[in-house]
């Protein structure tokens, strides 16, 4: 579509002005009940990190049990199941999803697009408070009789709501499902904001194809989440009804402890379909923002334009669309028709194509780049390596015949921790090291950052590489202890102890990271407006940290794409998006 005349009329600036800029009058409305997307983003991030800390402690506890079975009398089999369940649920939903979309999304979307705020600030604020409520309900389940649910993070019925499962006939499962329902409601409020802001509130000159890939990733992931989370909502509501009102949506006729239950004819497989219809897109809901952020980190810290920008955008969209037709590859062992398995294996492997395109483009961006091994860059590189590793084992598990023997073993655990645990978490770390200077005005401590990186990176491999091997041996996942199995050699116990010790050390490194966040707030080196000499709009704000409304009196005008690094003939090795010509340092000739 080519338009040569009247570009000024083409982009309605009025839309941006229409956003009601409310001015916080008190401490309470500025930091607590705040409608500023930047504050909401930080609130989201801090809440997610806080609940993530709970998940970290849970992972320590379960590693203690696996590494040294029988040593810790306070870890009962029931408690162990509760640990794995809550660890998984917290990490996938309450940390990764909330931090990428609620945290990075809120902070970065308006700034990167040159908007003053999200389009519905009030709804945005509400979104955070509903999310907080969901987290509190989740935390409450630790304190109710029977404790939290121990159904595994997939909450498969029938076991999820039977008395043999911790929390199944107590409050645990009820609070879990209620919390998920709240989370989805809260997310939908936020998600509407992110989507409409990207579509309607871009500043003049910011075409879709000039958006940084971070925004593309978050935007596509949000669209996916808006369409996929309803599946979790439906399954949670129906499971809740099965538990509370005795309906038989998912519950088949069954006897428990010699007693016939009232359920009849329900289908656990139906739950699996609904759950994974959400569950698989969820993987990419977490991965796409990570892809986007990593692209920007690599480009900025290698001082090169992103290779194949258009291809990157297409790949993001293609992955988003494809991820809705692969869900049943989580269900190969559910007894499905072999042709179904064939279909879903095929779609699963097709997703590898756009994903591989992205990996190649990252490598080609790095190729002959002026690579600065800053802490954000280290984490971005670690992401690529880890994501490729985790993706390769995904090819194993995506094939029906290979998956069947590996199903429900530690191999699966190792696979998804690499690909959607460790890899996205690295991006979160990289993103925080990268944008912390913009959020606070100070740099994070470099030495602490490097220690944090190397311990986390090497540690993650020491934890999860051996775990693949345990899985190949046949060590099952979710088991309280291996006990005596003929096919598991005694050396597996030694390996488990080793993994546990490393896990404790890696966990401790995360405490160092949190300390760094707090310490640098006061003592960090002042960052200035654009410490990484980056091109994107968030680094061009008149104030750092950006003030209310982001841009002062006038909105920035965008003249170029987001990746003008090392342009021949330019004064500097980067040209900000709002700078009209390569030579001119300030964009005052706009308009």
């Amino acid at each position: 579509m080519s338009v040569t005349s009247g570009p000024a009329e083409a982009i309605p600036a009025a839309e941006v002005e229409d956003v009601e800029l409310y001015h916080p009058r008190s401490w309470l409305t500025k930091y607590v009940f705040c409608q500023d997307a930047k504050v909401i983003g930080v609130q989201y991030a801090l809440t997610a990190i806080a609940i993530g800390l709970v998940a970290l402690v849970l992972s320590w506890l379960m590693r203690l049990q696996l590494g040294f079975p029988g040593t810790f009398s306070f870890i009962s089999p029931e408690a162990y199941l509760q640990f794995i369940t809550m660890h998984g649920m917290i990490m996938v939903i309450y940390l990764l999803t909330a931090l990428f979309l609620g945290g990075f999304g809120n902070y970065l979307i308006p700034l990167m697009l040159g908007a003053r705020d999200m389009v519905f600030p009030y709804v945005n604020m509400l979104s955070y408070w509903v999310y907080l409520l969901a987290v509190l309900v989740l935390v409450a389940s630790f304190f109710v009789p029977g404790g939290p649910t121990g159904a595994g993070w997939t909450l498969y019925p029938p076991q999820a709501i039977l008395s043999g499962t911790p929390g199944g006939q107590d409050w645990g499962i009820i609070l879990m499902l209620a919390s998920l329902i709240l989370f989805i409601i809260g997310f939908t409020m936020g998600g509407l904001n992110y989507v409409v802001t990207v579509l309607q509130a871009r500043t003049r000159g910011m075409t879709l194809m000039r958006m940084p890939l971070t925004v593309w990733g978050i935007f596509t992931a949000t669209v996916m989440a808006l369409l996929a989370f309803p599946a979790l909502f439906v399954s949670a509501v129906m499971l809740l009804l099965d538990r509370l009102l005795g309906t038989s949506f998912f519950m088949p006729a069954l006897a428990e402890m010699g007693q016939q239950l009232q359920y009849d004819g329900g289908s656990p497989i139906l739950f699996q379909h609904l759950f994974w219809f959400f569950g698989h897109p969820e993987v990419y809901i977490v991965a796409l923002p990570a892809f986007g952020i990593v692209s920007d980190l690599i480009s900025t810290h290698a001082r090169r334009n992103i290779f194949g920008y258009r291809m990157m955008v297409w790949a993001i969209v293609a992955i988003g669309a494809l991820s809705f037709v692969v869900w049943a590859h989580h269900m190969y062992v559910s007894g499905m028709h072999p042709w179904f398995g064939f279909f879903f294996a095929t779609t699963t492997l097709i997703i590898a194509i756009p994903t591989a395109i992205k990996v190649y483009n990252w490598l080609l961006t790095l190729w002959r780049g002026d690579i600065h091994l800053t802490v954000p860059m280290l984490f971005a590189l670690a992401f690529i390596v880890t994501f490729v590793n985790g993706g390769l084992t995904g090819l194993f598990l995506g094939n029906v015949v290979v998956d069947v023997p590996l199903s429900d073993t530690m191999f699966v655990v190792a696979h998804f921790h690499m690909v959607m645990g460790v890899a996205p978490i690295f991006v979160i770390f990289g993103g925080i090291y990268h944008w912390y200077p913009k959020i606070t005005g100070r740099m994070l401590n470099e030495a602490m950052g490097r220690i944090h990186f190397w311990v986390s990176f090497l540690g993650a491999y020491m934890i999860f590489f051996p775990m693949h091997y345990l899985g190949l041996l046949g060590v099952p996942r979710r088991y309280f202890e291996i006990g005596e199995m003929a096919f598991v050699p005694p050396s597996a116990a030694t390996l488990n102890a080793f993994i546990s010790i490393v896990a404790l050390i890696v966990g401790a490194a995360q405490i160092l990271f949190l300390f760094n966040l707090a310490w640098s707030l006061r003592h960090g080196r002042p960052a200035g407006g654009n410490p990484w000499r980056a091109t994107t709009l968030e680094w061009q704000t008149p104030q750092t940290p950006p003030g209310h409304g982001n841009w002062g009196r006038e909105l920035p005008v965008v003249y170029r794409w987001a990746y003008d690094y090392n342009v021949p003939g330019a004064d500097q090795d980067f040209i900000p998006q709002n700078q009209p010509s390569p030579g001119r340092a300030s964009p005052e000739a706009a308009a």
Binding site: M1, V3, P7, A8, A10, I11, P12, E15, D18, V119, F120, T188, L192, V195, V196, Q200, A201, R202, R204, G205, T207, L208, M209, R210, V223, L226, L227, P230, A231, F233, V234, M238, L241, L245, G246, T247, S248, F249, P252, Q262, G265, G266, S267, I269, L270, H273, F277, N305, Y309, R310, W314, V317, F324, Y559, R560, W561, D564, P580, S581, A590
Partner: protein, 222 residues
């Protein structure tokens, strides 16, 4: 999962059609200037609230399509499905909901003409008939209960209560928005604002009417 896949296919077609106008084939690294090549198709002139509502409708649509998927799958997955005696009242309710939708359509027309009195009357009529619809749905629940079909009696009745409840809750939410619009109309809203608010309500009502027709058909099919 056919219902949800069909729904998503429609969403994908719309998204694809929109994306095709967004200059995804341009080479942004070659273009420097205040507006890129795809500027005209950049930010669209639709008010954010309107677009927000459409995105929300897509989410609600996905939700309802998933319920429909679950309904159809559960029906065929076991042999315990017993058809419900559908109360004739539901047909009447359907008519009332259509009336409500029609009133909001008239309110929208009145708002376009700037005829405030017409907006008030039609909003009131629309809201009232929506309330009557909800009351009628509750009455239908009682009738089904009287037939001996409680929530947990049979999957057919479980789904009947679930689906009508989900639809009814969405309408109740709409009534809150409608009430707010009505109050603001009373207080004297600017013509532009009035038009938008009424427009949003009408769109939502029409959506819920169509959704109800589909869900009702589904329930009859059971």
């Amino acid at each position: 999962m056919t219902a949800i896949l069909l729904f998503l296919a429609v969403v994908a077609v719309i998204a694809g059609w929109w994306l095709s106008g967004q200059g995804l084939l341009t080479k942004p690294w070659l273009e420097v200037g205040p507006a890129g090549e795809a500027s005209a198709a950049g930010s669209s002139p639709m008010p954010p609230a309107k677009l927000g509502l459409w995105v929300f409708l897509a989410v609600v649509g996905a939700l309802l399509a998933l319920f429909a998927s679950a309904y159809l799958m559960r029906m065929h997955m076991a042999h315990d499905w017993r058809s419900l005696p559908m109360p004739g009242l539901l047909w009447l309710n359907t008519g009332v909901l259509a009336l409500s939708s029609f009133a909001l359509h008239r309110a929208r027309l009145a708002a376009r003409d700037g005829w405030r009195e017409g907006v008030r009357v039609n909003l009131f009529a629309g809201g009232l008939s929506a309330l009557v619809f909800l009351a009628g749905q509750l009455l239908a629940w009682r009738q089904v209960m009287a037939e001996g079909f409680l929530v947990a009696t049979n999957p057919a009745s479980s789904f009947f209560y679930l689906i009508t409840a989900v639809h009814g809750l969405h309408l109740a939410g709409g009534l809150v928005a409608l009430g707010r619009t009505a109050i603001r109309t009373w207080r004297g809203l600017g013509p532009e604002q009035l038009r938008l608010s009424v427009d949003l309500c009408a769109t939502y009502w029409h959506f819920l009417l169509v959704a109800w027709l589909v869900l009702f058909g589904l329930l009859l099919h059971g």
